[in-house]
Symmetry: C2
Subunit: 364 residues, 2 copies
């Protein structure tokens, strides 16, 4: 593995493909952290296994497990899934797995962004995050791909979505937050994204999902289903704090064009009713930096937008909510060639994210 410091993907003719383009595989991390996953992570691991199984039907899944969880991961996951030993601080392959870029000859490279647990010492979620921050390089090494070193720029994979045709979508609340790159202007941030993802237009949604502890990652509120079309998490309940947030995003998208000058078509994806964590669930979480990891009644950032686009399926969250079926039908309509697989994901959500957050595609 060569670590590339003196050139950029755009300069070298590499671009980040859209998630809906063909994959050779998917990376996941086996959950274990006792202040993220209640009751020793048993329920979370079951849900992760379901996600891995579903994706593995149409692409090769590699699951990273710690030395102590390797045997257990191997026992719970199907033979078709590859398990490799790799240590981490938690299980968010989207956020600290490599961002892959590809050139016209089909060569693949990774980008290693800096990672600081969603805000570092300012408003990050845990400390330390050293093992997470190593993963992008380690995964590129494992896959025998060269990697761009951009560790001087803090970014998580869930903070960006691209259409593969020159457009990148982010949120202001995340990318301009004080815990990321406080010394950089919006303009400078745009320049990095343009050079590394090889895009020419950044769509700046104002915010993400209410109470999303990632400072509002775009991948929980809005996702491309194809170039020029997005799904946006939505509620019609004006009394919900989310209402104004989703409305602000819709209004922004309404008046903005993508890199190709196309007006963006917005499909509203209704949210489930507010999902809150129970006292019983909180009891099963170890303390995080001497404080309770969650408090009973705390609202979780539940959203159907947090789905993964696999080669032949959409793997999407379900919450046991009356809206589950409608959300599934909307996505099935938008992805007619893929089977929509809905997985009950409350046990992933309690950890702080959902299916998109725990997966990272490797383009073909």
């Amino acid at each position: 593995m060569r670590i590339i410091k003196d050139s950029t993907p755009a300069g070298d003719g590499f671009r980040m493909p859209g998630e809906f383009e063909r994959h050779q595989g998917c990376i996941m991390i086996f959950p274990e952290r006792s202040d993220s996953w209640q009751y020793g992570g048993y329920a979370a691991r079951k849900a992760f296994v379901q996600v891995a199984e579903s994706i593995a039907r149409s692409e090769k899944v590699t699951v990273c497990a710690s030395a102590s969880q390797y045997d257990n991961a191997r026992a719970l996951l199907p033979d078709s899934v590859r398990v490799v030993e790799m240590s981490s601080n938690d299980a968010w392959a989207r956020d600290y797995g490599p961002t892959f870029v590809k050139n016209d000859q089909g060569e693949l490279r990774g980008i290693d962004w800096g990672f600081n647990a969603w805000g570092g010492l300012y408003d990050g979620l845990y400390f330390p995050w050293d093992k997470d921050d190593q993963m992008a390089r380690k995964l590129c090494d494992l896959l025998d791909k060269d990697v761009y070193d951009k560790r001087d720029f803090i970014l998580e994979g869930g903070a960006v979505h691209v259409d593969g045709e020159g457009t990148c979508m982010v949120t202001e609340s995340c990318l301009l937050s004080k815990g990321r790159n406080p010394d950089m202007t919006r303009q400078e941030t745009e320049e990095v994204l343009k050079k590394y993802l090889n895009v020419s237009k950044i769509l700046w949604l104002p915010c993400g999902i209410y109470n999303d502890e990632t400072n509002g990652h775009v991948d929980n509120i809005c996702a491309f289903v194809k170039p020029g079309e997005v799904v946006l998490a939505w509620t019609d309940d004006k009394s919900d704090a989310q209402y104004g947030m989703s409305m602000a995003c819709a209004e922004y998208l309404e008046k903005t064009a993508d890199a190709k000058g196309r007006k963006i078509r917005v499909h509203k994806l209704p949210l489930p009713r507010p999902v809150t964590v129970t006292a019983q669930e909180c009891q099963g979480l170890d303390a995080c930096r001497e404080k309770p990891a969650r408090t009973p009644g705390e609202r979780l950032a539940a959203s159907y937008v947090n789905f993964y686009i696999a080669n032949e399926s959409i793997v999407m969250p379900g919450f046991g909510d009356p809206a589950d079926e409608g959300a599934r039908e909307i996505l099935q309509g938008l992805f007619p060639d893929r089977e929509v697989i809905q997985i009950y994901s409350r046990d992933i959500l309690i950890g702080g994210g959902n299916i998109h957050c725990i997966t990272q595609q490797i383009p073909e």
Copy 2:
């Protein structure tokens, strides 16, 4: 990765190729253990890096490093070498890496033998050995190869050599030692080797190198250079304890034919003068199970036979001994199409083995 329990390589049409057949790569493990490698392993790691670099000139080398050594391994090894995180108890890829078998269609599978640190609680060298014992499976998983589960049979890779044409060579002192499979007869042991390596004839050398703490692995005393031809570690010094041992092996080979009925041609490879460990070296080793790991003056099992056959080179030990050059010339004569690279390997030898012990080929 599928774990195969209900069939054997021979039954499935798989055989272990000779080391001189073409490889797709080589596995190594980064040394770290403080009671094996003096003074924190600095000198050993330098020697391992030289070995990896040499092999990497003609095949892909994968080095397994612990989480804490990953960054250091990445920094010391060239870009062309792949570094993966994998935990182990020590650094002997030959002995607990998978033994690979291959079928006529070119499909590759691994064999996962039981490993008990060269003798378990009877006369093993350290405790515990759980991480070593996991490595064969983990490496097969990493390489996406199915693996035969033969963990009920204790064997190290360095305890067997094959010619790829039906012959396997072992030592009685190792395979019949009380710390391996004490409830099995010689006949039963032969049956396992025949079924798993797909061989029809076992050559039983009586012993290995004097004071070799592996109970005399064959790979330190005798190695195939091609079917029908071996090199045998040799001394003409009748006062040396090794004299009778090498003579006994020569006499055995003299009167024995291989699987194809060929008389075996023996090339004598003179040993260096006895190599003993110094007080200064012993001081740099942590205690092992409350006892000194080595004692000053202890004779080490130095032998030029412990070389690795890479695709385009022979990577062989050197000891700074007058015999180094002669040994190099003999091997160069026997492998005219490969460049012989001699590496000063005292710092590997102090750990208890040599270049063949720290490498494991992956057939093409």
